[in-house]
């Protein structure tokens, strides 16, 4: 389509909508929030503000081959929290994790009724591929969910990029943004707002991206650019545990998942000498079941020690298993099968090489995100969060993010009962945001392309803030360097130039990523210890510091423009040694 291209701010049309509940982002969590809100009260007007098209937006665009946490019949929510706590190095919000665990299976059971195929064992129960994870055939799970969301009566506004929140005093009353297809300025008021935009990919330079044509050859969804975090950061919301980055061992060059191979088919990870190094060198941490950061870091340590490359040894797999494994990939990341074919790779004869991914900020896997109360409300009244933007609970994965959709909707529906009609005057906020949004279209063509700034940011973060090329390692002086450059780029966003609406979206994506990167660096600087080697490796503080056995949180001071970092104590509910799963 030819996009309508405005010549100045006055030519930009406006669209003003109003909802009872506005949900920003129609991925897994956002769709479940919408469905739950409509179930609780079908008269509520629920609008989903969606950057892409709801049928294929978010992390599930290509599908999924497993639900990594699904409570088995013989386990309790407390069991799951104990396991998750140990996997995350002893740090998680136990109150929230317990609530999620209690309704963890609900969204998946619903999904199955709506059409998602779940693999079954002979008893007709879900077939577990590991301790907590079940296998599904989820290539079309997102269209199935989107269809149900529409059927329940939620209104979906596709192709609208959210850029900032709307406020009535301290209260969040909706969000603003722009149409990437229609070029309009949008405001959508909501008595309550639920942010569900996903995590932040593309903060760091991936090793798969050395000036070649695979800029987005990354594990996490590259279209999740930290916008949900950034909108909250700019408004002074409290964020938690950004320093607990997510990086994992992935198939080399493709940067894809390996649990499909290593968990499902029990294939060992081996170094170049054929040693099963997890069992041999990391037995005290649990060997093959060691916490995820250990499993992410151990292969990189092997490479550094001269024992690379590292492989997942698939050579013992039967032809039937190989076929089944490829089928699993077709349900999640189909192009991995293409990648094998493009390398003439017979995995029955040659093992699959693996390597560390670039780091991501993703609250569905680690604990990074908004600090929440027990109703899934952020520290900004009226703003709720679910899925990858919601902090405090690692190892949520698809099921946990869906469950958080339910929980955040329950919080939001209860909240709006006390809220009357919205009659506040938003004129100033609207005009200021409209000018900010569209300015890259009207700046000098001799300005800065979004791509340049994105690549510079990714290189700076990689080199100075512990990227994969640095084997995730960092120290105070390098972090200071990173911060200096990120701040300089933030000053220079006024030079960003976009020649069309697509580039305008890219410009805002880099603006958002810079805000997330800055907060991340503050968190990494504050944690002067190494709590999660790999996820957070401080060369100048290689040991754990018991004084930092707590949450590291941050908040932008809107008066000074400074990010303030502080701690919150750990609150243990489930008894036991936090570092031992006790199972």
């Amino acid at each position: 389509m030819t996009q309508s291209q405005p010549n100045n701010l006055d030519e930009i049309q406006e669209e003003h909508l109003e909802a009872d509940i506005l949900i920003i982002g129609g991925g897994n969590a956002g769709c479940f929030a919408a469905i739950e809100a409509k179930k609780m009260n079908s008269k509520l007007k629920v609008i989903i503000m969606e950057k892409a098209h709801i049928d294929r937006s978010g992390c599930l665009a290509g599908g999924m081959d497993a639900i990594n946490t699904y409570l088995p019949k013989d386990k309790t929510p407390e069991d799951l929290v104990r396991w998750s706590r140990a996997q995350a190095g002893g740090l998680l919000r136990e109150d929230l994790a317990l609530e999620i665990s209690r309704c963890l299976n609900e969204p998946i059971e619903e999904w199955e009724r709506w059409g998602l195929p779940i693999k079954k064992n002979d008893n007709g129960d879900a077939k577990y591929r590991g301790q907590w994870d079940i296998s599904i055939q989820g290539s079309e799970m997102k269209p199935i969910l989107a269809e149900k969301t529409r059927e329940m009566g939620a209104e979906v506004v596709n192709r609208v990029v959210a850029t900032n929140l709307l406020f009535d005093g301290e209260k969040v009353v909706g969000a603003m943004g722009f149409g990437v297809r229609d070029g309009k300025f949008y405001s959508i008021k909501g008595k309550a707002t639920i942010v569900a935009t996903g995590g932040a990919g593309g903060l760091y330079k991936p090793y798969t991206n050395d000036g070649n044509d695979s800029h987005h050859q990354i594990w996490y969804c590259p279209f999740d650019t930290g916008t949900g975090y950034a909108m909250g950061i700019r408004a002074g919301a409290e964020m938690t545990t950004f320093e607990m980055r997510w990086a994992a061992v992935r198939t080399k060059d493709f940067n894809g998942p390996i649990d499909t191979i290593s968990v499902c088919y029990k294939t060992p990870m081996v170094n170049a000498k054929g040693e099963k190094f997890l069992a041999e060198r990391y037995a005290e941490y649990g060997g093959d079941k060691a916490p995820r950061y250990i499993r992410a870091n151990a292969p990189m340590e092997e490479v550094l020690a001269g024992r690379g490359p590292i492989y997942v040894d698939t050579r013992q797999m039967t032809p039937e298993q190989i076929k089944e494994m490829k089928t699993d990939y077709l349900n999640e990341r189909p192009s991995f099968v293409l990648h094998l074919a493009a390398n003439g790779h017979d995995i029955g004869k040659e093992p699959i090489e693996v390597y560390g991914s670039d780091p991501y900020i993703v609250g569905g896997h680690t604990a990074s995100g908004y600090w929440l109360d027990e109703n899934w409300q952020t520290t900004l009244p009226g703003l709720f969060a679910c899925g990858d933007v919601a902090g405090g609970v690692p190892n949520k994965f698809v099921g946990g993010c869906g469950a958080e959709g339910l929980l955040s909707a329950r919080g939001a529906v209860a909240y709006i009962e006390s809220i009357g009609d919205l009659n506040c005057d938003l004129t100033e906020q609207l005009s200021a945001e409209k000018a900010r949004i569209f300015s890259p279209l009207f700046t000098n063509e001799d300005g800065v392309l979004p791509r340049w700034m994105e690549e510079k940011m990714q290189r700076i973060m990689d080199e100075y803030a512990g990227g994969v090329h640095q084997f995730y390692r960092m120290n105070e002086e390098r972090l200071d360097n990173a911060l200096r450059h990120i701040r300089k780029m933030k000053e220079q966003v006024r030079f960003l130039y976009a020649k069309d609406l697509h580039e305008l979206m890219l410009a805002h994506e880099v603006i958002d990523r810079l805000d997330v990167a800055e907060v991340l660096i503050y968190h990494l600087k504050y944690r002067k210890e190494t709590r999660w080697p790999g996820w957070q490796t401080r060369m100048d503080y290689p040991e754990k510091n018991s004084a930092l056995d707590c949450f590291v949180n941050s908040k932008l001071n809107r008066d000074t423009g400074e990010v303030e970092v502080f701690t919150r104590p750990y609150e243990q509910i489930v008894p036991g040694d936090r570092y031992e799963p006790n199972l």
Partner: protein, 117 residues
């Protein structure tokens, strides 16, 4: 990776306001070129989710591995059937593999009258 539009097959979804690939792409990458055919505006930004490949009514889009990480030339073609996908994969040595995957519960049974090729 990048979607490659087969120009002899793509008709630009003339009946639609936007081609289906443009409607669905999560990265806002597919659009209509001046020749009336779909085009990926920035191939390097593709996440290879294959949503465009699956939705194209003409079978006019293929996902390709960039040469930097894979050799010339392999193919992976999904045929969308009722409640199942049939994938055909051809590797660089010409070996062909086929996979039939159930992707939706309803009305799925083990009859053999499905519409896969």
């Amino acid at each position: 990776m990048a979607p490659k539009v087969l120009l002899n097959k793509c008709d630009g979804c003339k009946a639609e306001k936007e081609p289906l690939c443009e409607q669905i792409c999560p990265g806002d990458l597919m659009t209509l070129g001046t020749n009336g055919k779909a085009i990926c505006r920035d191939p390097r930004d593709c996440w290879d989710c294959m949503s465009c490949v699956k939705i194209c009514p003409q079978g006019a889009i293929e996902t390709r591995v960039p040469y930097q990480i894979g050799y010339h030339e392999a193919k992976l073609i999904p045929m969308m059937g009722t409640n199942r996908i049939t994938w055909t994969c051809v590797d660089i040595d010409g070996n062909v593999e086929r996979f039939v995957v159930k992707n939706h519960n309803e009305a799925d049974d083990d009859n053999d009258d499905d519409d896969d090729d």
